[in-house]
């Protein structure tokens, strides 16, 4: 048992070290070589446009269920009209970024790890290097930048759809007064609530792309290796998002009270 724990800790530390080195390589690449914006745009299309359906469905149903549950509890203390305010703050600062991050980790993280992993095991990454193309510049940087740029947009979309869906549930299903519910939402939702969420989306986007690229580029040989890299990319990204969310919430609360 102890030896298993040692191996696990060693692998975890090695992963953290590799991730840090990859981040340094990405920054070195951003400042030393020309970014291929064509590749970034292609990745933005793949990561952003293709993820919209999953992100909007998640946002809509999360907003709806959050609205219903909040309304059920608030109804007991006659605070029904504050329902949408809770939904907008909750979605904007916490649920929107976290759930979008998890969805992107599942869809995009897996795809990046599988693609880069397959390229590694079929020697395509080595071929790139022999053709004098640095894999960090060519493969990692466009994916990193695209995820970073697209995550806030996807989150904003998810939050908007979530609030809209919650409004429809509150007004048409639960019969709450539309004027008061809308007024209270605007009154109790502050810019800092939304800013907290937007800052988190950049961090989550960077985490997903770095973890997925690291897992793909260091994937063990064979089909089993690609499968493992893909699974690990999704699991590690998701866990990192959930754990770091707590610390960033506390930190951002201090910075943006």
């Amino acid at each position: 048992m102890t030896s298993y724990a040692k191996i696990y800790v060693r692998e975890w530390l090695a992963g953290v070290g590799r991730g840090t080195m990859l981040c340094l390589d990405i920054f070195a690449s951003l400042f030393s070589s020309k970014v291929s914006w064509r590749d970034v745009l292609y990745q933005m299309y793949f990561i952003g446009v293709k993820s919209q359906s999953v992100v909007t469905i998640t946002g809509a149903f999360t907003g709806m269920v959050l609205c219903a549950q909040t309304a059920f509890q608030f109804h007991k203390i006659k605070m029904d009209t504050a329902t949408l305010a809770v939904v907008s703050v909750g979605m904007g600062s916490e649920l929107g970024p976290v759930l979008t991050g998890l969805m992107v980790a599942g869809r995009v993280g897996a795809a990046i790890a599988a693609e880069l992993g397959t390229m590694r095991v079929t020697e395509q990454v080595d071929a790139l290097r022999t053709l004098a193309a640095n894999p960090i510049d060519y493969l990692v940087v466009p994916r990193f930048l695209a995820t970073l740029l697209v995550m806030p947009l996807l989150t904003a979309e998810s939050v908007c759809v979530g609030i809209l869906a919650a409004y429809l549930v509150a007004v048409f299903l639960l019969g709450i007064n539309p004027t008061y519910v809308w007024f209270n939402m605007l009154h109790y939702t502050h810019v800092n609530d939304m800013l907290t969420g937007i800052i988190k989306t950049f961090i989550f986007g960077a985490m997903v792309s770095v973890i997925a690229c690291d897992k793909g580029l260091n994937c063990p040989q064979g089909a089993e290796g690609v499968g493992r890299a893909t699974t690990e990319a999704v699991v590690y990204s998701s866990i990192t998002i959930l754990i770091s969310n707590f610390f960033f919430t506390m930190l951002l609360q201090k910075m943006l009270p």
């Binding site: 070195a28 030393s32 390229m119 079929t122 020697e123 395509q124 080595d126 071929a127 790139l128 290097r129 022999t130 053709l131 004098a132 193309a133 640095n134 960090i136």
Partner: protein, 249 residues
């Protein structure tokens, strides 16, 4: 000139390379032979900096690349063209994009000039007309020929071939051998091929290095190697295993 000095590499407990020494002059055609899993491909990848040694030196035209960082390696790698065992074509790109990859990235030529150059090298490997195909639509032999076209398009000074004929039928192997000889003659490049195909080794190399137990065991001309009575060389050249005939399954 390529010089390898006391090159050592371990993967886990096993020492794959245990002190490899050799040098190759400019324009020479050398074949490295040895058992499967004996470290031939590992040695070849050290020459282009795809694997870093545990110790020892790899000197390319006076520059030691053993401890060179990845970004500095880019200019050294520009001297190399490499044909991989599985061709390693980029499967998201067409044949044309694969072959013209370096020229497209460098943007030193117009798209029309690149297309002409791609046509020219595909002609050299006898595959002109398949520019729009994807690697998945090609046979193993065709993929290797496209890989060769991609390796020679920017006229590298050093050509590396990792098992160029493995997995191919005898006729396809013969075609690849002839293409390698033609490419080397035309480009006047240094050529280093790794293979365990003895017919191919004899044909494409003017000198043969035998890698045995992590070291260069023999370094001689193909004729001398094939005439050698040394038991290790003799067994390898003639394909005689050490397994006893009465071994039970």
């Amino acid at each position: 000139m390529i010089e390898v000095r006391n090159l050592k590499k371990r993967f886990g407990p096993s020492g794959v390379l245990q002190g490899v020494d050799f040098s190759i002059e400019k324009g020479e055609a050398v074949t490295i032979i040895g058992q499967s899993g004996g470290g031939k491909s590992v040695l070849l990848k050290h020459l282009v900096g795809l694997i870093r040694p545990d110790s020892g030196d790899v000197i390319i035209d006076g520059e030691n690349i053993a401890r060179m960082n990845e970004r500095a390696m880019v200019s050294v790698r520009r001297k190399f063209g490499m044909l991989f065992q599985g061709a390693a074509l980029f499967d998201s790109m067409t044949v044309e994009e694969n072959v013209g990859f370096v020229l497209n990235r460098e943007k030193t030529a117009s798209p029309k000039e690149i297309a002409c150059r791609v046509e020219e090298v595909l002609d050299l490997v006898g595959l002109n007309g398949i520019q729009k195909k994807k690697p998945a639509e090609l046979s193993g032999g065709m993929r290797k020929r496209v890989g060769l076209a991609r390796a020679v398009i920017y006229r590298p000074e050093i050509l590396l071939y990792d098992e160029p004929t493995t997995g191919l039928d005898p006729i396809a192997s013969d075609t690849i051998d002839h293409l390698i000889i033609r490419a080397v003659d035309k480009l006047k490049a240094t050529s280093i091929a790794v293979t365990h195909d003895m017919r191919s080794a004899r044909r494409i190399g003017k000198r043969i290095l035998l890698l045995h137990e992590g070291r260069i065991y023999a370094n001689m001309t193909p004729d001398d190697l094939f005439k050698s009575k040394d038991p290790v060389i003799y067994r390898f050249v003639n394909g005689i295993s050490e397994m006893k005939g009465d071994a039970e399954l």
